[in-house]
Point group: D2
Chain length 286, copies 4
């Protein structure tokens, strides 16, 4: 039963009457629309995207009832849709390696009450960040990864994540390329952060190459993980300005700063059910 708020996310082929159908349905159920965002595109696809946040002040409601009720409308318009009650906090797992900047930012904002979620666990292929994690009262799972055991470890990851009913996985500087077999069961639920440069420096030591080229801005991109490396739908990006007198080490430090703010915003929007994936892009209703 939920008596407070929920978010409905919809994507489907655009047709007249969708907003009317959804809002009339909610009105008749006694819901109060708190905010409603809608975006249509006729670029190639003619797609319709909607986010409705509403409260259901009545009693006796169950989530499954609302879902059952809404099904005929959803079917009529062939919607992809999800209903997220606020009472059901998303369950988050954070994957890290040795660098702590993204991890600590997320844990601090979470402890400060800025994230509406349960951070359930931190998983790492190294030991280094154990005390940082347990200091927040969170379990820390260490799975050493080698070329040989990688797929086996990923199976154990999946078991652990399933067992704890994890909704979203944040790769917060997890320096392992995850395999398709890991991505598949968590499709559209794995968020990664990586540095970004203008222009791009593909390959090893990007900060050294950015230094050599004398870039004037350092960026970061948070995106969903897909099979193609670092090419999934972008959730958020940002940059910080630098100058010639930043060493490669200082560029890295700036990179850490921009990475931690970008991953935090991306997770926030995901937790608030503001992000819809379509093809290889996102709609982010801010």
């Amino acid at each position: 039963m939920f008596t407070d708020k929920a978010v409905l996310l919809i994507s489907c082929i655009d047709k007249p009457g969708i907003v009317a159908a959804v809002s009339t349905y909610l009105y008749e159920k006694g819901a109060n629309i708190i905010s409603s965002d809608q975006y249509s595109t006729n670029y190639q696809e003619g797609m319709f995207f909607m986010r409705v946040e509403f409260s259901l002040p009545g009693e006796g409601w169950t989530l499954s009832q609302v879902e059952e009720d809404f099904k005929p409308i959803a079917d009529k318009y062939a919607m992809n849709w999800n209903l997220f009650p606020n009472s059901r906090k998303k369950r988050v797992a954070i994957f890290v390696s040795k660098e702590d900047h993204c991890l600590v930012e997320l844990l601090w904002q979470w402890k400060a009450g800025d994230f509406e979620c349960d951070i359930v666990m931190v998983v790492s292929n190294h030991e280094e960040l154990r005390s940082a994690v347990t200091g927040f009262g969170l379990p820390f799972y260490h799975f050493p990864v080698t070329k040989e055991n990688k797929l086996e470890v990923e199976k154990r990851h999946i078991e652990l994540l399933k067992e704890h009913d994890i909704d979203v996985i944040v790769l917060a500087k997890y320096m392992q390329i995850v395999s398709p077999g890991f991505i598949e069961p968590f499709k559209d639920k794995i968020i990664n952060i990586h540095h970004s440069f203008l222009p791009a420096f593909v390959g090893a030591k990007p900060y050294d190459r950015a230094y050599e080229r004398g870039v004037k801005i350092i960026g970061a991109t948070a995106h969903f993980v897909t099979e193609e490396l670092d090419a999934g739908p972008i959730i958020e990006q940002d940059i910080i300005r630098v100058s010639h007198d930043y060493s490669a080490a200082e560029l890295k430090r700036v990179g850490r700063m921009v990475e931690r703010s970008v991953i935090a915003r991306a997770l926030q929007w995901y937790l608030q059910n503001r992000v819809i994936i379509f093809g290889n892009k996102t709609i982010v209703f801010k």
Copy 2:
């Protein structure tokens, strides 16, 4: 008759069913909702704000018919509402004194096709910018203003603006304080731009005082003009970073840069009917 697009702006006290009523109405008229933004607040007021952009593909429609049709719904919810057909471009008058930076930015973006409006005239209390204006093929009206003739000139301004059916007046560095008698007939239709500092420097020579205090950012604010000087609803703000080695003159130059981009964005949003005024603030649906 309009067969293309229109924007409906609504503000009223929040009640269940408003979105349903509006979207069902549009659906039944055969309209296609292109985008819909809605914002509700229960901070003090419990107000509801909505912007719907839609197309009306049918024929035989007149604006007055739609307005007449929608009236019962609007009345039921005691809405403040406006319907803006795209076919009716807003008519803009720009007021300037001697500085050209905001004027030229607006005229250039307009000529580049970025503003959907008719810039109808430029009014000035000085002669300096005549050729800049006539070079764009626009009429330039020069009304010298003195302490003695100020109210008389404002009457002639009002006549001229009424005669040309002006929808919005941009004070693009018009260095005169306009009187209540001028504001009243154009309530919520006069946009001003002015520099902003952190902290604020009230009084004369703000750039000199900002220099003396060593400010690190220079800002600008675009706002609607109300009787209280520079205290009307804010439409847009921005800043540019500066350092100790900017002279007061260079701070002014930076101020010009930020002023022209802020006034251009504020006008753009107004022209696209994205701005609703409520009390002393704006809702800007971007």
Copy 3:
């Protein structure tokens, strides 16, 4: 003895030959200039400011020797000057009340190795942040402050700070107005952070008033503390963009974000001896 790096900060009335005198002196001592920034102004004052970072590869040098050597040159030009050897880390005390965002940011960056300093202690007028501080292995001093005991407590603060040889005090959301008697012994050594708005909202509940006015940016200012409240020389400022759908609570959250990045940059520049105070402004050699 110091065999590595040092920074020399100079301010004096501008005259020909200063750069030559300083650089020739350093050359003759065998120093290698790593970076040198110089700024002159003929706005009113005709002042000269210089920051030189150099290494002294030779042996047998003592700080007092260099100071003694340089004195005739300094006297000739009536310089205000300070020599900061890198080997002597600045000793920092952080003052807090109940809000932890600035504190945690500073401690995290310090632990990450980004600040070259010793954070020696945290002082608070409340108990709330004790465990956050002791978790970093730092002493936490709690001095409850009342209207009656305020001056007495400040005396004990001063004793404690003197006893621990503190170089810089960061008021990281210390919600007490410090009195002139506290400022005087730490003149130009107390850094404060506070929110800033465009326009300024003087008085109580600034975020509520910013919400009511519908501001589009939220800012923060780090400055040195002087007797006039929040009017001391500005070290750094920044802003984050917001929109109408931020509640007053969310504006506060954004305020925390911008405050913590601004105070961290201000402290960083101070620790790197990049900040010279002149009159009521700063020269920051970045």
Copy 4:
């Protein structure tokens, strides 16, 4: 003869005593150092870069005399060096095709007195922008370019530019790849502007591809032209934030905005002799 200001730009292998030698030289000549920036790197190269701005109040000085005087010092340290008297304004040629946004920005800032230079001519491979240019009282040269006549046209470009003693060429959306034969005589003197994306989209229709990937920021890069396409030393970069509801056309419009501000800043710094090229990067003394 020059009795006012000049800038000296120096790059050489770092050795002790360079700053002392330069500043002592200037002092002995009676020069007053207005500002002095210096940057050394021991990353790989161990290079030294310096920008000194000074005034020479005395009479009877000629540029060639100063150059002759300074030569022994320059030779001693094997400097690359250039002396730029303020009295000798840089002569600028702007190359354009059909898009006017960068051109108009540069001409407007120039007319506003923000650029200390002579804009001598505008060259285009199209007719479209003739009146925009002649309206500023500038000559407009139209050279249609085909695959067949390209090298021939470039020869005529070079003749024209040499004849008018051009110091810097700004490719302000000149949609032709210039050949090595054109670059060679104007090495380090051709500035180009182009869009930049995170991640990079190499190939045709980058804005369409950025739209498809749903990028959240649109950038621009100003750089010196080298033989490798768009890979020369970066002078300045910036970005503007966008969202999912920007069409590909609107992304292009944002691209124009960021391009014009970036090219203007890059040209400004070049005109003020703030830019030193070293390898494939720039040192920009701001």
